[in-house]
């Protein structure tokens, strides 16, 4: 999706370069949503406090096929450019996982929450796993304080989102109970490797980097939980057959060329 297109969010239950060092499927899928030949991708590692290892993993995955940069809110970036200039020139913004409570509080302190809403409106693709996914919804389930608890998000997307449904199973009952009790709106839970693609506020597609992983939709109806499993489309070998919005051939070729030039 080029800038200027529909607001787009790719919300991952887990996975991507931080969790799947040998499986680029979700990262490739994110890049396929951006039409620019060399997409500008900004990494926001705020939720984990900008750890070096996570930043290095981002560059390891993205610098070969994108103009990759990161924005630290803890270390000086040595630039006098405003946050608005940095954020709004991107094609995609990748938000890393970590503490959702810290993420939202620190974004608000820097005014970055409002900039990201503007970025979304302008069609800059927003993506991320875990805290970097839940933050876009009305509510999520965080372990920022230790045990899982419900937390409010930015509310760009309607409903709630719970992550690591298979990898951290202690979150799911907290989420389901909160949905059933009406403390948070119904929504989705996603396994590690599963991502939901939203165009505007509409959930359009569910994809997965791993076979067997799934998403779950849950709603409270008259005090009872109604839930159903959503089978994702498996990314990778079967992707073309499933009609993925893959990058056009010429764009792929250019990315390969740049990749080769960087290696040289």
């Amino acid at each position: 999706m080029p800038r200027g297109g529909d607001p787009t969010i790719l919300a991952m239950g887990g996975g991507g370069f931080t969790m799947e060092p040998d499986n680029p499927a979700l990262d490739d899928y994110l890049l396929s949503l951006v039409a620019a030949p060399e997409p500008r991708v900004l990494f926001l590692p705020t939720a984990s406090g900008d750890p070096t290892a996570q930043i290095a993993a981002f560059y390891g995955r993205y610098s070969r096929c994108a103009a990759a940069t990161h924005l630290s809110l803890f270390r000086r970036h040595g630039s006098a450019r405003s946050l608005a200039d940095i954020v709004l020139e991107q094609d995609a913004i990748y938000v890393g996982g970590g503490s959702m409570r810290n993420l939202l509080a620190i974004w608000a302190a820097h005014g970055l929450d409002e900039l990201l809403v503007e970025a979304w409106r302008r069609g800059i693709v927003l993506a991320g796993p875990s805290a970097g996914a839940m933050c876009w919804f009305e509510a999520g389930v965080t372990r920022s304080g230790g045990p899982p608890e419900v937390i409010a998000g930015l509310g760009l997307l309607r409903g709630s989102f719970s992550v690591h449904a298979d990898g951290e199973p202690e979150r799911l009952p907290v989420w389901l109970a909160a949905v059933r009790d009406g403390r948070i709106p119904g929504g989705w839970a996603a396994d590690d490797g599963v991502a939901l693609l939203f165009s505007g506020r509409r959930m359009g597609r569910v994809v997965s980097s791993r076979p067997g992983a799934a998403a779950l939709r849950a709603d409270a109806v008259a005090g009872d939980l109604v839930r159903h499993r959503i089978e994702p489309e498996l990314l990778g070998a079967a992707e073309d057959a499933l009609g993925a919005r893959a990058a056009p051939d010429d764009v792929r070729e250019l990315r390969e060329l740049r990749r080769a030039m960087r290696r040289g």
Partner: protein, 246 residues
């Protein structure tokens, strides 16, 4: 912990273990205020995003002679050696709380989200010595000059000390001019400290200025007669005076 200790803050313009390897003077000074042979010292590295290397350096410096602990606000789901459970009880039981440098804006945002602003205020009232450098100095004041992203701006701190504060006063020439301009434009009067200089407050009164470097200085910056006046403060060098002459 004695209930009779007064509130104390030692605000470094820069320095201590994270900036002055091999020069323990400012850290020693803070420990001397604890009134205990083996003080309980808790490190709060929030402003750095709980950077691992920073935490390791803290323990290297303090673990041998203190009961050293740290608090992480980013890894509470997997404690990784940090204090988990009741942060409030832990902080209130300390002799010294040592706040590391980094971004004061991120620091304050995260503290407020976890209620640490309230807890640290209570700790201060109980006589837990609060100290820190850079962001760990700025946070205690009502207004703080930060230049983390883009040009210098003024942010609201916790307000335990009803002044403004500017750190690294010697490090960046632009800061000096900006701070004076801010004070001229209505930011409350305050204190600027160079790297190696520390402002020691008892209650809300400046008790003493100490330094780990012979030439490090601190200043009172305030409007007077239509302009902003910068007054150097008497500073006690904590090292050997022979070194100062050398």
């Amino acid at each position: 912990m004695s209930q009779t200790r007064p509130p104390q803050i030692v605000a470094f313009g820069g320095g201590g273990f994270s900036m002055e390897a091999g020069n323990p003077l400012l850290d020693d000074y803070v420990l001397s205020l604890a009134g205990r042979e083996r003080p309980r010292v808790c490190f709060v590295p929030t402003a750095s995003g709980d950077a691992d290397h920073y935490i390791v350096r803290f323990y290297r410096t303090f673990a041998a002679r203190c009961d050293a602990t740290h608090i992480s606000l980013f890894r509470r789901d997997r404690s990784a050696g940090s204090v988990d459970g009741d942060l409030e009880a832990h902080l209130l039981a300390q002799d010294v709380v040592y706040v590391g440098g980094g971004s004061v804006v991120s620091l304050l945002g995260a503290w407020r989200a976890h209620g640490l602003d309230r807890v640290l205020k209570a700790a201060w009232r109980r006589g837990v010595v609060l100290c820190g450098l850079s962001a760990g100095s700025l946070c205690w004041f009502s207004e703080a000059v930060t230049a983390f992203h883009g040009p210098p701006t003024v942010v609201r701190g916790l307000g335990l000390l009803p002044f403004s504060n500017c750190v690294h006063y010697d490090g960046e020439p632009a800061r000096r001019a900006e701070y004076r301009r801010f004070v001229g434009d209505g930011v409350r009067p305050g204190f600027a400290a160079e790297d190696g200089a520390a402002l020691h407050f008892v209650g809300r009164e400046l008790r003493r200025v100490v330094s780990s470097r012979p030439r490090a200085r601190a200043y009172r910056v305030e409007p007077a007669g239509g302009e902003v006046v910068e007054t150097p403060l008497a500073t006690s060098f904590l090292g050997q005076t022979q070194l100062a002459a050398a």
